[in-house]
Amino acid sequence: MFDLRGNRAYADRAFRVTATGAAALVLLILGLIAITMTKRALPVARQMGSSFFSETRWSAPDGIFGALPFIFGTLFTAAIAVLIAVPISLGVALFITQVAPPWFKKPMVYLIDLLAVVPSVVFGLWGVLVLSQHFELGRSFLTAGIILAIMIIPIITSLSREVIETTPPSDKEAALALGSTRWEMIGAAVIPHSAGGLVGAVMLGLGRAMGETIAAALVIGSALGQITLNPFAAGNSMPAVIANEWGEADDLHKSALIALAVTLFVITIIVNLVATGIVQRSMRRSQGT
């Protein structure tokens, strides 16, 4: 009898430990990414020092690796993508929550989910063989920005929708009862209530846009050393360089590409930390817990 009970307690504890381990895996993976990849990036860090972030030349044969143009390209394309995606996403989220009749909501949500499921490489293929050729865009920052915008619209839309839906009906009804039009009601009740969450949603979209690789790699044009605000110029971004140059890279070159990945990792982690913090805080506040 005692034995049996001991076994049960033992099994119970074993299950608890296993579950805890599975949860800890998240922290373990993130930690391992930071440690192992930084170690691999050391050779290029020793060679370039801090000029890795300020040098504009990138030449594997000469052993010069400057990440600045790629950092610029990443931020520039992500900014274009966000500029295009935010008004559209907010429009769709407001349409779904405030305008659409109930029977129309579900198909709209499905449409957004469908957009999220289309693989990024398929968008890239469409971008390179259709968009860049038939619309005279060529391969450029702008083409990459448009494709990235299409890809981050689903995440911004669905997060905004969730945030907006937490607006208390009483707030909206109060605004309408005071004679507000629908748009004034949105400005008076919905936006103030969801502002924090919306900022977070946009930042999460920004993080996605910066990390998106394959579509960018196909349409951005792979031009080296390009730092210009002309959206029609061909350029490059960190993930695109990694994907396009990995195949023919030697050891130091690979180390430089991994250093780019570490830089990308740090930037996206910071953006995501801030964004997740904002979203969770605004969600908590709106749920009153």
Partner: protein, 297 residues
């Protein structure tokens, strides 16, 4: 004395004030943004359908079974190994990520709940969903491929890292929906906590967990960047999980999209059609499971 006589009767007929015009314009803009979302989706699906179907279903089932031509400019079918590769890599990734993700969520919701460690993990899991997939790919390259070479398993490791936080998030949401009285009933019968979770809580949440996992699978199946550094680009069938380079539909699309040969581009469209079909089928399966769940409640 009638004070009200001087007051003109209230005019209740609708006057289009600037305010209501503005509201209408804004509503119009919202409708326009819906159109702006639908247009690219339809355009992409149209291109993939129009160009992909013709390639994929010419001399059916050649495209789905033949091996990939080694010489890119040669016309003709063959994405068989890529289809098998995608199924293999995604399948193994699912086998790794779903059990671990469900266990992690069980910890968060059944054991940790509000303690500091659980909060940290929950927060970092959300952050982890934003880690770029190419970073996961290089991470697995450093951790696995450098020592063991190209294989389907390396790709599966990378994909499971991407799926893990998604499965944790989806499962935790589903565990929240399991009514507490089910757990209490089990405890009242003297059941241990682990047994309660395994035989009462998880079965109750199962449909939701399945549909959440399927959505994660659909995402993962379309990923390219994490596979580039781990799977390789074989042109022949490779049923072995741990040895030799393999390939996947997404890798083939990426490689062929960059090609200037029409034959290669055709194969890319065919592969894209196959991949889109695959991910949509998995998504549809998730929807069916969710609908079942909704109708049961």
């Amino acid at each position: 004395m009638n004070l009200l006589a001087d007051v003109p009767p209230l005019d209740l007929s609708a006057k289009r004030s600037w305010r209501s015009v503005k509201s209408t314009i804004m509503t119009g803009l919202m409708v326009l943004s819906v159109v702006a979302v639908a247009v690219p989706l339809i355009a992409v699906l149209w291109s993939v359908g129009a160009r992909g179907l013709a390639v994929a279903f010419k001399d059916f089932p050649d495209f789905f079974v033949k091996e990939i031509p080694v010489v890119a400019r040669r016309a003709g079918p063959g994405m068989g190994p890529a289809i098998v590769g995608t199924l293999l890599v995604t399948g193994v990734a699912t086998l790794i990520a779903v059990p671990l993700g469900v266990l992690g969520a069980v910890y968060l919701h059944e054991y940790g709940i509000k303690n500091r460690f659980a909060r940290l993990v929950r927060f970092m899991a959300t952050v982890m969903t934003g880690v770029p997939s190419i970073v996961m790919g290089l991470f697995v390259y450093v951790l696995w491929t450098l020592s063991f070479g190209y294989s389907a398993f390396g790709g599966a490791l990378a994909l499971s890292c991407l799926m893990l936080p998604v499965v944790i998030g989806a499962t935790e949401q589903m565990l929240k929906l399991v009514p507490p009285h089910l757990r209490e009933a089990a405890y009242a019968l003297g059941t241990t906590k682990s047994r309660t979770i395994l035989t009462v809580v998880l079965p109750a949440a199962l449909p939701g967990i399945v549909s959440g996992s399927l959505l994660a699978v659909a995402r993962a199946a379309g990923e390219t960047a994490p596979l580039l550094f781990a799977v390789g680009a074989a042109t022949e069938y490779n049923p072995h999980i741990f040895v030799e380079a393999n390939t996947a539909l997404s890798i083939q699309i990426f490689a062929n999209a960059n090609s200037s040969f029409v034959a290669a581009q055709d194969r890319a469209w065919g592969a894209a059609m196959t991949l889109v079909l695959l991910t949509f089928l998995v998504t549809l399966a998730a929807r069916v499971v969710t609908a079942r769940l909704a109708s049961r409640r």
